[in-house]
């Protein structure tokens, strides 16, 4: 019972203080708002980048073309050697003989059908192939080089070039956004520390008397921490609206794809709700950490 009375008092005091120091509170709230909007953009961007790089990585396949003259035995040898490369995802190894390739291509188009029919096996340009996937995409070129050195392997192809560049570009974008988010959060924490410090300094006399008449440290600190949480909560209102409606509009405007079919956006539901939740939690935490820091520094209790 006692604890609830104290909490009620803390919350009442915190609201009073937010309203009494309204201009100062507004400064903190707007700073939190701006930070959280950028944080929200960064979160949505990095989740999308992650989503789409994973999508591409999942599809990334090394195709291994074997020499024309391979025998059954050679094919087995090549497969065994591929298996021994650690980065190769063993379950993904798939063999396609000339015949399979031919049938597949014939099914695809009428033109191929007639052209391919005129070649017999010995003069066919088609080759027996292996298709493998790798565990770690970053080392795909190393793995491809190793496979190329296996005897009887004619050529190795993977989506080198464009895909590589895209993944590295997006991953650096991701790193930069993380950096920006962390910097902004730190700046906001400092701003809140200063805001709360000012309200504490306005109430120093009161705090001194509280300590004299036997208020516990918990009682003294809690109103300020609650105040920080309220500032964080108020600061996250606009970012939450921005996140939910902004992303929905963005998604609908681009029809779910960015620039090409390759880059698929994450579906808005439930993505926007979880992002909004994260934004609110970050807002409250930033407010809490800021005010806790201010109280500790200022009261030395």
């Amino acid at each position: 019972m006692r604890i609830f009375r104290m909490l009620g008092r803390s919350i009442r005091d915190a609201f009073k203080s937010v309203i009494r120091n309204f201009s100062l509170s507004l400064a903190s709230i707007s700073c939190i708002t701006i930070t959280l909007i950028i944080v929200a953009i960064a979160i949505m961007a990095s989740f999308n980048v992650q989503n789409f790089t994973q999508e591409i990585e999942r599809d990334l396949t090394i195709v291994i073309f074997l020499n024309n003259d391979v025998t059954e035995e050679d094919i087995n040898n090549v497969e065994n050697e591929i298996r021994q490369i650690p980065n190769v995802d063993k379950s993904s190894i798939r063999f396609e003989s000339k015949q399979d390739v031919k049938e597949e291509m014939q099914k695809e188009s009428e033109v191929f059908n007639t052209v391919l029919d005129e070649w017999d096996d010995s003069e066919s340009p088609l080759k027996d192939t292996f298709q493998v996937k790798v565990k770690n995409v970053n080392q795909i070129s190393n793995t491809a080089n190793r496979i190329e050195k296996i005897t009887k392997v004619n050529a190795v192809r993977y989506g080198e070039g464009m895909v590589d560049k895209m993944i590295s570009a997006f991953s650096s974008v991701e790193k930069v956004t993380y950096g920006v988010v962390i910097a902004l959060v730190i700046v906001t924490v400092f701003l809140i520390i200063n805001t709360i410090k000012l309200t504490i300094s306005a109430r120093r006399r009161e705090i001194g008397i509280m300590r004299l008449v036997g208020a516990s440290n918990f009682t003294i600190k809690t109103p300020f921490i609650v105040e920080g949480m309220i500032l964080g909560l108020l600061g996250s209102i606009i970012p939450v609206i921005f996140t939910t409606y902004g992303y929905l509009a963005f998604y609908n405007h681009f029809d779910g794809y960015l620039f090409t079919q390759l880059i698929q956006l994450i579906k808005p539901e439930p993505f926007i709700y979880s992002t909004a939740g994260i934004v609110v939690i970050i807002g409250i935490l930033v407010g809490m950490v800021g005010s806790a820091g201010a109280v500790r520094k200022y009261l030395k209790i």
Partner: protein, 232 residues
Amino acid sequence: MDLIRLKNVEKKYKNGVTAIYDLNLAIEKGSFTFVIGGSGSGKSTLIKMLYREEKPTKGQIIVGGLDVAKLRNTKVYKLRRKLGIVFQDYRLLPKLTVYENVAFAMEVIGATKEVTRKNVLRALEEVGLKNKVHNYPDQLSGGEQQRVAIARAIVNNPKLLLCDEPTGNLDPERSMEIMKVLDNINKTRGTTIIMATHDKEIVNTMKKQVVTLKDGHLVNFKKKGTYVDENI
């Protein structure tokens, strides 16, 4: 039984000044004690150590069973709840009414509204300010403000009331009023009172036990003592 016991207490401030040298003292429950001495004698330091505003550099201080010197910062409130403190400068909150100022001491330790109301009104009656509950501190005279501060100090029923020069800002007439209030509290509630003062008149009229300090040394501890100049 002793409410307060000091054993070999020494206080040296960080700037090198020693305020109290090797002080041994025991103060009985329910007693009324004056601590007298000139400025720089260590009266205020002694009072401050009793409510743990200052820590002794050496020795042991026991107040109501609590070892004050060893009390951790986060546990100081346990000591403060056992005692009330009155200062020379009243230390009231200007934006709160008389009632709210006194109730503040109960609210922050989590008392219910009913208990708060009952205790606050009783304390204000004891100091004779029941007709001024809705006034603000700046509408009261100095003596009345000090009586509000006393009401705030006793509202939680402390065993000990510490007063640091409570009459320092008041004329002799108002000072005697304050002393009557304190004496009454001592008699009716049985609250132990320790009061630092340098007011000769008061000490000689009240005839209580007197602790005399000079340059940080205890020079005299007398029952029914008086303020003797050559001791200081």
